[in-house]
Structures are given as structure tokens and as C-alpha cells.
Subunit: 239 residues, 2 copies
Amino acid sequence: MNALLRDANPPLTRSVEDYLKVIYHLSNQGGFAATSDIAAMLDVAPPSVSGMVKRLSETGLIEHVPYRGVQLTAQGRRAALRMIRRHRILELYLTQHLGYDWGGVHAEAEQLEHAVSDELVERMASALGHPLYDPHGDPIPTAAGEIEEAELVSLADAPVGLKLELRQVGTQDSARLHYLAGQGLTPGVLLTVSERQPFNGPTTVALVPSGDPRVVGRELAQLLWCREVPVDGYGAAAR
Amino acid sequence: MNALLRDANPPLTRSVEDYLKVIYHLSNQGGFAATSDIAAMLDVAPPSVSGMVKRLSETGLIEHVPYRGVQLTAQGRRAALRMIRRHRILELYLTQHLGYDWGGVHAEAEQLEHAVSDELVERMASALGHPLYDPHGDPIPTAAGEIEEAELVSLADAPVGLKLELRQVGTQDSARLHYLAGQGLTPGVLLTVSERQPFNGPTTVALVPSGDPRVVGRELAQLLWCREVPVDGYGAAAR
DNA sequence: TAAGATGATTAGGCTATACTAATTCGATAA
DNA sequence: TTATCGAATTAGTATAGCCTAATCATCTTA
């Protein structure tokens, strides 16, 4: 069919929505998301990402600098935040109204976020009392697409005893990223600082909820940017 | 990739689930579902149906008699009933817990039925008190895939004043089917018998909720099989 | 019983998405 | 400053959907 006659603004596919979400998470503070990181997060091969990147920049959802990476445009960011709002409201609704625990809720929300209508999302938000934070304490974007940016501390500077959520990893270095992923240190993971050796020594953290310890050297700890999580685990109530 | 190495039992796609559902509805009492009827129900071209029919019979979900139509196998029927259970529980949940009315709920459930997990469906069923009927009075299949078959009366024999749901149209004749569809007389529609002329004359019905009257000649009325709907509209409460 | 009508199927294409293998770019290190 | 290596891209292929146009089968009717 003639390309000019096709719908100029077709609804986004499920795949596209997933790409936008991970690009948002990877390029959070103004950086570029690398092809291989996107591929790893979505569990697809890098050439698949190159292909999708091409389509997404043609439709104006991302900006692509070849061999450097991608960033969301304003339009892409809006779409990504819409998905994040859906995801967080779904997680909250499933836990508070349907008895889910924090184990199973992420996978379920991951599926549903592509299928719910805007109306349903707003009805769930209503039923929840229009919450501002999800149970991890992460801010829920507004329906208009605004989000409160959290203040981040590097793990190397975080005080002992604090409960933290790993939000960003400040490197593109693949070896480091793979090492961290192997340790379970990926954005979104919850942890507490259990001790830090003096004289710029390593920091020991415990993963939440497993309690598994991880020892992180200072150099790496400086790259791990975290957000303080309110101790009750429910940001909405705490603020 | 080598076909032998692929997952022997991959999850069904959204499209496949939709095909199975309409084949179930079209071949309800042991008949065959015709290609053109499937195409009309799914709003796709007939060759698309031929293509899908080929794939579905290769995977053992349907039985295909060329130029005659298709029927579900036991496996296909199980999958179809699973979708119908999801759909009906979703409709009930959305109306009872999220304030939906009967207008918007069908489209929303149509999307969600492909995305919810079995666990979520069962949690919603629990929250609803394990209902046996949806708000139309249609029976909800069990998680094990059993469904209560409703007793049907032909519209030509239904007593005046009864509230009915049109369940099956007992013909494959295209002209008749198109005429009925044009009159809004498609399976699922609710109606009440307002009067019947004596000596095998036509039956007049009123559509619910619009109240629009339709006059149906005896020959056609005999083809319209209906289920009696409890007057309160909530089968679950009535039984 | 043969011709037409109608519905089903095949032929041939298109798009979105994925893959592997081959190639190219760019940064690091000698 | 160049050789090298890893990351990114291109080339080429596959699959699940969909489509239109062309053909084929079946049923009805003259």
C-alpha cells in the first residue's frame, strides 16, 4: 500500500513500547543508551536493536547518533513515561487490591501495561487514591507525563544502614556492566549498606529481600547511583 | 532455525486466541465454522483465514474439512474455553470492582484477556466469590475447562414477555446472516418478545437496552436460538 | 446436465520483528 | 601512528500476520 495513505500516527506496538521504556531507563540523566545495553535489557541480539532504532528514529521517537547510542525525543519520552505510569499503578493495584506480593507483581504488570486502556489506568489510580509513589518509593509519572526526579547518592557515599534502590549505573563499560549484572546489581534492585571499610575501602551491601551480601570496591561503588527508600517501603504514605 | 528444535508447545499468540474464540462461538453445537463467517467476525479477509486455518490444523488445534469449514479439537476447545473464562471474569471484575458499565467493558476485556496470567484470573475470581455466571447470565467455564450448556428456545416458540439473549443463528445462509446482522440480531444481543401474531405470524421483539422494535417472520424466528435471561440480569444471584 | 454464482483456496506480496554471518567504525594501546 | 579489538551496523534470511488478484470447488438453478 502507498506509504502516504497509511495511518500517520498508528498506535505503538508492544515491542516499541518495550524499547522506549528501556531506552528511558538507560539514558535517564541525559546520556545515550548503547545498542548492546538495550539488547541485553530486552534479551534480543544487537542487530535487532539496530533495526528497531532505525524505525524508531524514522518515526521521531528517538534521536540516533550512529556508533554512539540513542536518546528519546520529547515524544518518545512522553510515550515511555506513559508506560512507566501504567506499570507502577498496576503494581500498586495488584498488591493492594488483589493480594499480590512483590515477587510476582513485576512480571504481571509487564504484560498488562501493554493491554490496559487509559481509562482503566485512571480508574485504578482513583481506586488507589491517586498515589504519587509506588511501593518501592519510585515516583509515578502524572497522566500528563511529568515525573519527579529523585535525588541520587553514589553508593560510595551512602551512610551505613540506609535502605537504597539502585537507580543508575554510571558507566558504559561492558565488562563492568556484565560483572554488576552477574552480582545482581542492576537498576531497580533494593539493598542496604551493611558496612564500609575505612580509608576508602570497599562497601558491603545486603540485597533486599534475599539478604545476600555483596562487597563493592570503591571505584565501582562510585558508579552506583542510588535513591534512598523510605523504611516502610511505601513512599506514598511517608510523604 | 531447525523446526525440530523449536519449542514443541509454544504459547498461543493473541491472534490464535482470537481465532479459537470465534471458532468456538461459530461451531457451538457441533457444526462447522465457515471461513467467511470467521473472516467477518474477526474483520479480516477470507484468505487470511485460510492461511491461519492451515497453521491451526497443523498444530492440532482445529480440524479442517476443505471447502466445508473447521471445528475445534479437544485441545482447541480447551484453549477457547480458557479465553472465555478470562473474558467473563474480567467483565465481571471490571464492572463490580472498578465501576465500569456494560458499554465499555467488552472492549477492555477483549484486550486484557490476552495479557492476564492464570494467577490473576483466579485472584479476580476469588475476589468475586467464584461466580458461576457473568452479568449477562452466561455461564463461566471452570478453570478445568468445563462449561454448562444453556438450554435454547427458538424465537418462534419463546413466550411473549420473556427476556432473551440471542445465542445461535441456525443457518449458514449468507443473505440471511447479513440481513440479521443489519437488524442488530447477532449472537449476544439481549431482547424481549413484545408480541406474536396468531396463526404462525411474525414475532415482534424489542432490543435491550435500546428498546428498538424488530419484526421477525416465522421462518427466520425459527432459526434464532435464544437463552432465557433471569430478569435481574445477574445470573449468579438468581441461581 | 451444464452454466453461473458464491465461497474457499492458492499465488504472490508487504510489514514488523527476530536471527546469524559478515563487515565497518572508532577507541585504545603499543 | 598504526594495529587491533570490541561494538555497531549491514546483508541476507525467517516467520507470523495481513492483503489483493486469480483460480478452483461446490451448489443451485435454468
